[in-house]
């Protein structure tokens, strides 16, 4: 097991090099020149050249690439070009707000989606199952923007159930007061596709021979579904969950903007608007790294839930 983990971690290095090259090409080679934005309303070529020098983008590409590799290795991406804030500080201060929405959302959506998927899989083919699937399809067809606008207007403004927007200081104040509506909206949006997906995973298992055997042995339907079917369907469910994990690092862009949540998603949008490459590069590298680690974690979990899986 340890050898496997070491090997997988070792494989991260060439993958990261590929990611670094891609990011460098996208931002430093074809990504435009931020000096023109930072120069203000009236600037002359000399001032533009000075800004390029200060940012280090007047160096040859190979030198810029080496600097970037050093930044990735040391996890020191320098400072934001537009606000001068240290990039690591941006992550340290913005990530908690994003996680405060992302983590409860992931927990809630997983529990609720699996429960509903099990229920509809249990009554597969029935009117309830079909009605649930039609509802999910309809819910999936509506843009998240519509949910945000309608929920914010109706639940927060009109009925006063939640704050319209904002963020406070205390952990509990934020979690239960300000994050509640954003979580609710994100939950409504994510439930429909997850229920459909998990239902499919479960139905794939329901028709397997081992399920028939379990039923033939006289096991109760609850035991069949919750123990046998759910355990075997858990591998694709884990895969789906692990795919979503790195997303926690980038937050929920639209929700954070609408509800003025000072999270990383909002910061990423700002960084893109301002061509703030150090922040964009750092986010991209962190997400790539998180994806690789999440994949590794998923493989280890496969082994944990299904002893037949061999890690080679």
């Amino acid at each position: 097991m340890l050898a496997y983990i070491a090997r997988r971690l070792w494989q991260i290095i060439p993958t990261m090099l590929g990611v670094i090259l891609l990011i460098f090409f996208l931002f430093s080679v074809v990504g435009g020149d931020p000096a023109y934005l930072l120069a203000g309303k009236i600037s002359n070529p000399e001032q533009i050249a000075n800004i390029r020098k200060q940012l280090g983008i007047d160096e040859p590409y190979w030198m810029q690439l080496l600097i970037f590799i050093k930044q990735v290795v040391t996890f020191d991406f320098g400072s934001s070009w537009s606000t001068n804030e240290v990039v690591s500080q941006i992550f340290a201060t913005r990530l908690p707000a994003s996680l405060m929405i992302g983590i409860p959302l992931l927990i809630l959506e997983t529990i609720i989606a699996i429960t509903i998927a099990l229920a509809v899989a249990y009554v597969r083919g029935s009117f309830t199952d079909r009605a649930a699937m039609v509802t999910c399809t309809m819910a999936q067809s509506v843009s998240i923007l519509v949910y945000i606008i309608v929920f914010q207007y109706a639940l927060a403004y009109k009925w006063g159930l939640f704050p319209v927007q904002g963020w406070g200081n205390g952990f509990f104040e934020n979690l239960f007061k300000f994050a509640a509506l954003p979580i609710l909206i994100a939950l409504v949006v994510s439930l429909a596709p997850n229920i459909r997906l998990y239902r499919t995973f479960l139905l794939d298992e329901v028709n397997q021979d081992y399920v028939r055997t379990a039923r033939a042995k006289g096991l109760s339907e609850n035991r069949v579904m919750f123990v046998h079917v759910l355990r075997n369907a858990s591998i694709p469910i884990i895969t789906n969950l692990m795919i979503q994990l790195p997303g926690l690092l980038v937050g929920l862009f639209l929700i954070e903007r609408f509800f003025s949540v000072p999270g990383i998603g909002r910061e990423v949008i700002l960084a893109v608007e301002r061509s703030d490459f150090p922040v964009i590069k750092a986010v991209t590298v962190y997400v790539a790294l998180a994806t690789m680690l999440a994949n590794l974690a998923a493989d280890l979990l496969y082994k944990a839930v299904d002893p037949r899986v061999e890690l080679k």
Binding site: Y36, L37, G40, T83, T93, L161, V164, F172
Partner: protein, 622 residues
């Protein structure tokens, strides 16, 4: 009404308890419910009482539609950071709160500068008793602002390591300043203690600024937020991070800053004070109401200013309606809802909300690239082409559909509210597609088989409009396409990132693009310079070159505002219309929505922060 916030609070608690109990552990849910119920909204963003009082302090809550970047006067290039800077730092001059058009008045100067030597010498006497806000670098003693600080603050714009963005305000204008910079560059380090001839420190509270040539508009530079006065000790303490540690001498200091979330300012404990003393402009009846309410009161009645960046328009609008914000610059998406037919909706009237509608000191324009082989140059057929296009663009439809009635057509090169504006002027270039077609026919732009016109040499050409891929720009694409179809000109939409457009623009590589210019200072010169050929690569984004216009501009820039300069401006306008290097666009309205408990507030067209001039009425809010 009085009970409504309580009900709302109760419902919010119930909802959050429900979410807590259902979503997370029961214990967590209950503790969250308890925790939320303990909070009174003072530090959070949800307000339960319209007027906020924190520890007996009067609070005003405002918002920015874009997050701020930082508060160093030399490096801040966004409006919203500049607003905060204006509230924290002092400038030598400022603007009269009510005067129309905007009028310069002393801020830390005892009086207006003494201008001598035909506009080349500006002597400024500073007030005594102007102190910076307390900071550890000053120790326990109060640190007084002196003429040395003014000179130092001017010099900071030449520190390349800061990436200064406002150097153009003084570049080449002050005797010896550029030479001092060049000497520093050569030596590899700026010598901050070296004297500059043009920044003569007469005594601790008098500075004489010597200009390289007469400039009667230099007073506007002295009032510009970028020329705010900083203390050298603070800069040296935070050499590359003044933007996070702004320490000024104006009415407010930065109490708390959570980037992109909230900016909290409180009254500077060393604030010098002052008395509210302004006269009605005579052009706005509401000035009388303001004067009656505020005359003789001390300056800076508000103790605490809270600013929340809220990017989304719906969120801002609902926050204002929910009384979380006291003043709001009306988001354009909700204009029709809040101001049907340009008047406040009955719902808002019933709540006592007031609207202040003012034209911004700006305009938009569509420029044609002067160096483009098809569109640029002074040959008659090219002038005819530009004129025809300018006559084909339907600005009225733009105002009605895209601007939602929230703008007026720009007629003159100097917009309203700016010295040099001519209110009764009506441009000769009016919307007239039939005349535009006739003009194109006359100058040899014949229609080809595809129904679109070719150039007089028979080659096909297009109106290639460069813009960013946004919803509003797509609306412009639709409008311009329709307008160009009406005169048989092919339309091409070119989409790229804003930074790329600016880069190409400075190299005169964009064929046609829309731009906007908002006054840095309320003088016509700030707009006329946009067409001066020596500003190509800087602010003349269409790269227009006209010897006649240049000669007129050079003459006008030596004159103060007055009839002589107005005559020159009129000639420049004629030259502009003769050449048509741009199609002038619109001047947009700013609609400030103001809750009834905000007293004496009026958005100034130039002044960035008005916080020290208005008040909140506790009784009305309760």
């Amino acid at each position: 009404m009085a009970n409504w916030p309580l009900k709302r609070e109760l419902r919010q608690r119930l909802a959050t308890c429900l979410i807590g109990v259902v979503g997370l552990s029961g214990l967590g849910g209950l503790s969250g419910c308890w925790d939320a119920s303990k909070k009174d909204g003072v530090t959070g963003v949800v307000a339960t009482s319209p007027v906020k009082v924190t520890d007996g302090k009067k609070v005003v809550r405002l918002n920015f539609p874009v997050a701020e970047s930082g508060f160093d006067p030399v490096t801040a290039h966004d409006l919203y950071s500049s607003i905060i800077i204006d509230g924290i730092f002092d400038t030598v001059l400022t603007y009269d709160y009510l005067a129309q058009p905007a009028k310069l008045v002393p801020k830390i100067a005892t009086d207006m500068p003494v201008i001598e030597d035909g506009g080349k010498s500006w002597t400024i006497k500073l007030k005594k008793g102007v102190y910076f806000a307390p900071h550890e670098v000053f120790g326990t003693a109060k640190r007084e602002l002196t003429s040395k600080d003014v000179a130092y603050s001017f010099k900071r714009h030449y520190d390349d390591s800061l990436k200064p963005v406002w150097r153009f305000l003084t570049d080449g204008k002050i005797v010896g300043l550029n030479a001092w910079y060049e000497a520093g560059k050569k030596a590899g380090k700026l010598d901050w203690d070296a004297p500059v001839a043009g920044l003569e420190l007469v005594d601790s509270h008098t500075i004489k600024i010597l200009l390289t040539k007469p400039d009667f508009n230099f007073g506007y530079v002295l009032a510009h937020v970028a020329m705010s006065v900083v203390a050298r000790e603070v800069v040296e303490k935070y050499p590359n991070d003044v933007l996070s540690h702004p320490v000024g001498s104006s009415a407010y200091y930065l109490k708390e800053w959570v980037r992109g979330q909230r900016i909290i300012l409180e009254k500077n404990p060393n604030w010098r004070g002052g008395t509210w003393d302004f006269k009605p402009s005579g052009k706005d009846p509401y000035d009388d109401v303001i004067v009656k309410a505020m005359q003789g009161k001390p300056l800076a009645l508000i103790d605490r200013v809270e600013v929340y960046p809220i990017e989304e328009e719906q969120s801002r609008w609902l926050a204002f309606k929910n009384k979380q914000l006291d003043v709001l610059n009306m988001p354009s998406s909700f204009i029709k809802q809040a101001l049907p037919n340009g008047k406040l909706s009955p719902e808002l009237v019933a709540e006592g909300v007031r609207v202040q509608r003012l034209l911004d000191t700006e305009y938009t324009y569509t420029y044609f690239q002067w160096s483009d082989p098809v569109w640029g140059g002074s040959e008659l057929h090219k002038v005819a082409l530009r004129r025809a296009v300018a006559m084909a663009i339907d600005r009225d439809e733009e105002i009605e559909v895209i601007r939602k009635g929230n703008a007026v057509r720009a007629e003159f090169l100097v917009p309203p509210g700016v010295a040099g504006h001519k209110a009764d002027f009506s441009s000769n270039v009016k919307y007239n597609p039939s005349l535009a077609n006739a003009l194109l026919d006359k100058f040899g732009y014949k229609k080809a088989a595809d129904g679109f016109r070719n150039a007089p040499d028979g080659k096909p050409f297009a109106f290639r409009y460069t813009s960013t891929p946004t919803t509003t720009e797509r609306e412009f694409d639709e409008l311009y396409k329709k307008n160009m179809d009406a005169i048989g000109i092919r339309y091409e939409a070119e989409k790229e990132k804003f930074a790329d457009s600016i880069k190409r623009e400075k190299r005169c590589q964009i064929m046609i693009r829309g731009a906007a210019w908002i006054a840095d200072y309320p003088d016509g010169d700030n707009f006329m310079q946009l067409l001066y050929s020596k500003n190509i690569g800087e602010s003349n984004n269409g790269c227009y070159k006209s010897a006649a216009f240049d000669a007129l501009y050079e003459k006008s820039s030596q004159l103060p505002d007055g009839p002589d300069r107005d005559k020159l401006y009129m000639e420049m306008q004629k030259q502009f219309e003769a050449d048509t290097p741009w199609a002038l666009g619109v001047t947009r309205y700013r609609n400030q929505m103001i809750h009834p408990w905000v007293v004496g507030y009026k958005k100034h067209p130039i002044l960035l922060s008005e916080w020290m001039y208005f008040d909140v009425n506790m009784e009305k809010g309760k």
